[in-house]
Structure formats: structure tokens, C-alpha cells
């Protein structure tokens, strides 16, 4: 039994006696299975406590900044009022403030029949049985303490359901805003536990944007868990941008399960200044499923950006193609672990992995390791990681054409970063990613040029 994060666990729905007038529709209408899920998860977390660097999966990351936090609340500061949401996309926009759905800030476009984008709280209130057997089905709180913690607080987030054969014509956008203290330090340290559940029916198709931002730089925790169920032939392409402020700890854990011929493409762009742990587990459980995992982490100042991905090849003729790139400035640190499991009998597996890294400063660090566990013989597997500075010949070439050194560096760094963004298929997703990456490149250049010589 661990005593980690007691200030937080005592705030769990399970522990707080809720006045009916207070949290009226949620807790008291929770079905038994959900209450059990939450209670068991809380027990799992308390059993395991926070992960430590003694555990193989956590060797690169120290959670001491999280352990030191004294939490006073879960959810938004009462003082917080949400600013107008910039909204340029065509599809629906669902906004979540500290994990809770904010209908006023959201724009719920009319979706084609068979495509639904709802808040989890609504679904739990109106038709909880529709997600029973899906919610929590892909996660294992017994081995992932932070997933357990998230599950213990599970109450709101997004549920996207696509009936067989349906297509969302435009990307569905989810914006998660953490509010910090809204300028009032007495508001204390907060935690947010948004959740996402995607049920993509047979042959359905979805593009999805998930953005995590924060409204100020107060300490706090965001723990986000997403589950993607892809039935046969379903196609999902998703972009997740992690751009929370430096003082916040951001944990995200994605779980996808692919049936026959399903395709799941994930693009993760991590530009947060603080501590980020981003986990992905993709299970290829039926033949001919394919996944592409692309990532770009861009660190500045003292950011610590840890990406831990696992692809589990459990059926024949599945493919996985993974490329994570790191661009690290100042004293930032990147961690990349790419685990690939090819189970006995998963013949015809084709798996690729690469992790090129660009260090813009001699104080930046990258810790990268592929981890291949192969138990089948008729497969193709490749992996590789590189660590380097900008190519000096390319830099000189550009200068010899009259382009000044700073601009030449910007061009080459941009080319490296955008190389992975270019792999996004959906145009709107690529536009969101490009805009974010350009803005971050400008910040990186600024923070590198401000460093003491």
C-alpha cells in the first residue's frame, strides 16, 4: 500500500461523500459496473503507488515533481471563465475545461447519421449501457498506476461512436484546457482527468484532433486516457498536440485495438515546456491491420518529454510503421522507448521504427532505445535511432548562397521537424500540426538565441 498522492486520492469520487444537490446527476446515477471500475482502479493505484525509475518502463523519467504536489481540487477553479475559443475548423469542436465538458464553449456541428460525438458524462447519464464493455476494456490498471489513477477519477471526457460504414466528413476536434489557478494562488493545485472513448464500427472512418493546452502556468496534473476500438476495416487518423505549460505534469496514455484490415494512424506533437509522459499501446489482434505511429517532440528550457510506445503484433500480416523525431533545445531532455512485440504465429509481420533526433544545444539530452521482442520467424523488422546536430555541409551551402546563419539554421531545423508532419494524410490535421510546429520553431529559436554564450 502506497501513500503517494494522498492529497489527490482523498478527493476521488469514491472517497467524497457527495451532497445530492452538489453533484446531482453524475455520481448517483452511475451504474454499478462503473462504480466498481473506479473503486478497483483506486485500489490498484494505492497498491502500486507512483511509478519509480526502478521500473524498466520508467527508467527515463522521474515523477518527483508530481509526487511533491499538494492537490486541493479536481476540476476547474471557480474563478475561471473560458476565453472565446478560436475556431477555424469545419467539424464539431468539443471543449473540456479541467476534464469537464463545457457545452457553452463547444460547437456541436450536425453530424451525419450514425456518427455521434458526446460528452462522457452525458453518455453515463443517458445511456451508460452503450459503452459498457468498451470503457476500460483496453487498459490494465494493474500494471499502469497512472492509468489506474485516471480511471479512479473517471467522470467526463468525450465519446465518439461511428456506426458501421459511416464517415465523419471533417475532423472532430477535442480541446482540453487546464485552468491552473486562474491567477488566484489560493485556488491551489488542481488535477484534471479527461477521458476519450472511440468506438469505430466496421468500415467507418474518422479523423480526430486532440489538443491539450493550459490557461496559465500553475502547477497541476493532467492525466488523459484514450481508448480506440477499431472494428474490421475501420480507419482512424488522429493528431494529439500536447502543449501544456511548464509547471504542469502531463500524462497521456493511448490504447488502440485493431481488428482485421483496420488502420490506425497516430500523430503526436509534444511541445509542452514541462514534464510529459506519453504512452501508446496499439494491439494488432487480427490479420492485415496496419498502424502508423508518428511523433515529433520539441523541447525547450527544462522540458522533459518522454514517449513510450508499444506495438503488439498478435496476428498475421500486420504492419507497423513508426517514426518519432526529437528536436531539443536548451536543457531539455527527450526520452524515447519504442517497444515492438511480435507474438508467436504473427508471421508476415512488417515492422519499421526510427527515431532521429536533433540536438540544438550541447546541454540538451536524448535517451533513446528500441526494444524488439520477436517470437515469430517469417517477419521483416527494422529500427534505428540517430542523434545529431544540423548538417554542417548543408548549413555552409545555404550560407554560401547568401542566407544568414540564423535563417539557414531555421530552414534546416524546420525541414527536419516538418519531415514527420508531412506524413499526416488528412489536410486539416496537417494544417493544425504545421501551425503548431511553426510557432514552436520560432519559440525554440528565440530561447536558443537568448542562452548565455
Amino acid at each position: 500500500m502506497s501513500s503517494d498522492l494522498q492529497s489527490l486520492t482523498r478527493l476521488s469520487p469514491d472517497r467524497i461523500p457527495v451532497a445530492p444537490s452538489d453533484r446531482s446527476d453524475q455520481i448517483h446515477t452511475d451504474p454499478n459496473w462503473l462504480a466498481t471500475l473506479r473503486r478497483d482502479a483506486l485500489a490498484c493505484f494505492e497498491e502500486q503507488g507512483l511509478p519509480t525509475r526502478r521500473q524498466e518502463e520508467w527508467k527515463g523519467t522521474n515523477l518527483a515533481p508530481l509526487a511533491a504536489m499538494e492537490f486541493t481540487r479536481v476540476g476547474a477553479s471557480p474563478n475561471f471563465s473560458i476565453p472565446m475559443q478560436e475556431d477555424v475548423g469545419l467539424g464539431p469542436l468539443l471543449v473540456f475545461v479541467d476534464g469537464a465538458f463545457d457545452p457553452a464553449a463547444s460547437r456541436r456541428e450536425k453530424l451525419p447519421a450514425g456518427v455521434r460525438a458526446s460528452s462522457l458524462a452525458e453518455v453515463l447519464r443517458d445511456e451508460p449501457e452503450s459503452i459498457k464493455g468498451y470503457l476500460g476494456a483496453l487498459t490494465d490498471p494493474k500494471i499502469q498506476p497512472l492509468v489506474a489513477l485516471q480511471t479512479a477519477f473517471l467522470s467526463d471526457g468525450a465519446v465518439l461512436v461511428l456506426d458501421p460504414g459511416t464517415t465523419a466528413p471533417h475532423p472532430i476536434r477535442l480541446r482540453f484546457i487546464s485552468t491552473g489557478d486562474a491567477g488566484d494562488s489560493s485556488a491551489g493545485t488542481s488535477a484534471a482527468f479527461p477521458r476519450l472513448l472511440v468506438i469505430a464500427g466496421e468500415g467507418s472512418s474518422l479523423a480526430l484532433v486532440q489538443e491539450h493546452i493550459s490557461s496559465d502556468d500553475a502547477p497541476g496534473l493532467t492525466a488523459y486516457v484514450s481508448e480506440f476500438h477499431l472494428a474490421a476495416g475501420a480507419r482512424v487518423e488522429c493528431l494529439e498536440v500536447q502543449a501544456e505549460a511548464a509547471a504542469r505534469v502531463h500524462f497521456t496514455s493511448l490504447h488502440a485495438r485493431l481488428e482485421e484490415n483496420a488502420t490506425f494512424d497516430s500523430h503526436v506533437i509534444t511541445v509542452a515546456d514541462g514534464l510529459v509522459r506519453s504512452e501508446i499501446l496499439v494491439e494488432l489482434v487480427e490479420p492485415n491491420a496496419a498502424t502508423k505511429l508518428c511523433g515529433l517532440f520539441m523541447g525547450q528550457k527544462t522540458a522533459h518529454l518522454d514517449h513510450f510506445t508499444t506495438v503488439d503484433h498478435a496476428a498475421v500480416n500486420c504492419t507497423s510503421d513508426e517514426e518519432y523525431r526529437g528536436v531539443l533545445a536548451n536543457e531539455s531532455k527527450g526520452v524515447f522507448r519504442g517497444r515492438v512485440i511480435v507474438r508467436p504465429g504473427a508471421q508476415g509481420t512488417d515492422t519499421k521504427q526510427s527515431n532521429p533526433n536533433l540536438l540544438l544545444s550541447d546541454r540538451a539530452m536524448i535517451d533513446t532505445k528500441p526494444q524488439l521482442e520477436i517470437y515469430a520467424d517469417d517477419i521483416r523488422a527494422s529500427h534505428g535511432s540517430t542523434i545529431g546536430q544540423l548538417d554542417s555541409d548543408a548549413l555552409f551551402f545555404l550560407r554560401a548562397r547568401g542566407i544568414d546563419e540564423a535563417e539557414a539554421k531555421r530552414l534546416l531545423t524546420g525541414a527536419f521537424a516538418h519531415g514527420v508532419v508531412a506524413r499526416i494524410q488528412n489536410e486539416e490535421l496537417r494544417w493544425v500540426a504545421t501551425t503548431q510546429v511553426d510557432a514552436t520553431l520560432t519559440q525554440l529559436e528565440k530561447s536558443e538565441s537568448e542562452r548565455p554564450k
Binding site: 548543408a394 545555404l398 550560407r399 542566407i403 544568414d404 535563417e407 524546420g414 525541414a415 519531415g419
Partner: protein
């Protein structure tokens, strides 16, 4: 091209000693090139030809240990590579680099506008630049689709060299250095590249053509030919010297005995 003693001295190299890394390569080069002139520097491998071109453009790792190089009277050693380029020095590289992710047309426009800004001219907008680009591309017979591709990525040897000449045509330098531009070209590509170079010949412009073989000089006829050996100019003459070298090889000059002005 007529050049007389009254035309401007574009480049003056005086008693130049230089290192590549820690290794002394050039041991006292004297060379003066005036506007309107084409000089060829020939020599065997390892004679210092590439070191000379790298010194002229300021490549990191190459260092002047004594002597000086003046470009239109200004000391080159005090100028960063990008400033030299903007002042009008251009090197067509022997081995052009590939730069994935940076589109050729974007790069060219950035470079052209860096020059224009340096000269106090307005930047070209996308439309005007494109007009100019298309005109120059015709001269080197490059298909338009190559412009949206990344710099030199997947280009053949000949395409890379054409791309170098295209850059020269667009940037309109005053002093062009062509470092083994003929190497690896078949006869058609050689002719195209030579045409591009000849387009640049003018009374205001000077050129230094560095080559191992004489064949480029059939198309780009030099006013002066110098033979470089072991870091020194051991012989200078006119275009007949290049023909003589082609017949006799470099061996008869290697001992330095044949050196004269």
C-alpha cells in the same frame, strides 16, 4: 573577352598560405583576376585546387595562415560566407549537398532576396521571382517540376550540376568559381552547363574555372591558364597550356622545374 589593365581587379590573391584542418596545403599563391577575365586553374589531384576554392568562400575548417585575399579591395578574411556571397562571390560546388525538406524554389527565392536586400533593392515577390526562375531554368534545360522538389534530393549528378549553374544565373555574382563542374557529366550535360557558364560571361564579371581535365575549356575558353602543383602555381599561360597539359599530363611539371610566368 577583352580585358585590359584598366578593368577592375575583382580578386587579388597575394602570397596565400592556407591549411585544410591542421594540414598546410597552399604554399604561396599569387593570382590576380580582372573583370571580364576567365582564369582556369588546373592541376592533379591533391594539388590544392579545392582548398583554394574553399578558402575563397570561407568554408569552416579552411584557414589562411599568411598572405591575403582581396575581393574588390576588401579583405576576404573579415567577411562571413554569407557576406561574401552577397558581395558577389559564388562557388559552384564540386559535390552539391542534398537538403531534404527544403524546397528548391523556396531556397532560391530566399537566396535571391538576401542578395537583393544586401544591395538595397526590393525583394522579389513570388510572381516576379517565378518569371525570372522560369527564364533561367530554360537556359540550363531543367524541368519545372524539379523546383518543387527538395534541394538536390534524388537528383542525378548532372541535375545537381545544372542546379548549381541555375543558382549562379539567378544570383548574378561578380566572381564565379566553378569547382570541377565538369566532373561526372556526359557530353550533353557538359554542353548545357557550359552554355550556362557562357551566359554569365560579361565585361563586369570574373571567373575562376577549376578543373582536372581540359575538356570543359573547349566550351568555356579561358583567357589565362594556371597549373597548380603541391600548393603553388608552377606555370601560367594561355589556353594553349591547357592543350599541352592534356597531351603531356602533369608529370613534366611536378618537379617545379617547368615553372615560369
Amino acid at each position: 573577352m577583352p580585358a585590359d589593365a584598366s578593368s577592375e581587379v575583382i580578386i587579388r590573391i597575394h602570397d596565400l598560405h592556407a591549411n585544410a584542418g591542421e594540414t598546410p596545403i597552399l604554399h604561396g599563391i599569387d593570382l590576380e583576376i580582372r573583370a571580364g577575365e576567365i582564369h582556369a586553374v588546373m592541376g592533379p589531384n591533391g594539388s590544392g585546387k579545392s582548398t583554394l576554392s574553399n578558402i575563397l568562400v570561407g568554408k569552416p575548417g579552411y584557414e589562411i595562415t599568411s598572405g591575403e585575399v582581396l575581393f574588390r579591395g576588401k579583405n576576404l578574411a573579415e567577411m562571413d560566407p554569407e557576406i561574401r556571397a552577397r558581395e558577389g562571390i559564388f562557388l559552384a560546388f564540386q559535390y552539391p549537398v542534398e537538403i531534404p525538406g527544403v524546397a528548391n524554389n523556396y531556397f532560391l527565392r530566399t537566396a535571391v532576396n538576401a542578395m537583393r536586400t544586401h544591395r538595397g533593392e526590393d525583394e522579389l515577390d513570388g510572381f516576379d521571382f517565378l518569371e525570372k526562375l522560369k527564364e533561367k531554368m530554360k537556359l540550363v534545360e531543367m524541368p519545372e517540376e524539379m523546383m518543387s522538389r527538395a534541394i538536390n534530393e534524388g537528383f542525378s549528378g548532372g541535375e545537381k550540376k545544372r542546379n548549381e549553374i541555375l543558382q549562379m544565373l539567378l544570383l548574378e555574382p561578380l566572381f564565379c568559381i566553378l569547382d570541377e563542374t565538369d566532373s561526372g557529366l556526359d557530353i550533353d550535360a557538359l554542353r548545357t552547363v557550359a552554355n550556362g557558364i557562357n551566359q554569365m560571361r560579361s565585361a563586369e564579371r570574373a571567373m575562376l574555372v577549376i578543373t582536372h581535365y581540359q575538356r570543359l575549356l573547349d566550351y568555356v575558353v579561358p583567357d589565362h591558364v594556371h597549373v597548380l602543383s603541391k600548393g603553388r602555381i608552377v606555370r601560367s599561360g594561355d589556353k594553349e597550356l591547357a592543350i599541352e597539359l592534356e597531351k603531356k599530363g602533369y608529370g613534366w611539371l611536378e618537379d617545379g622545374a617547368g615553372a615560369n610566368a
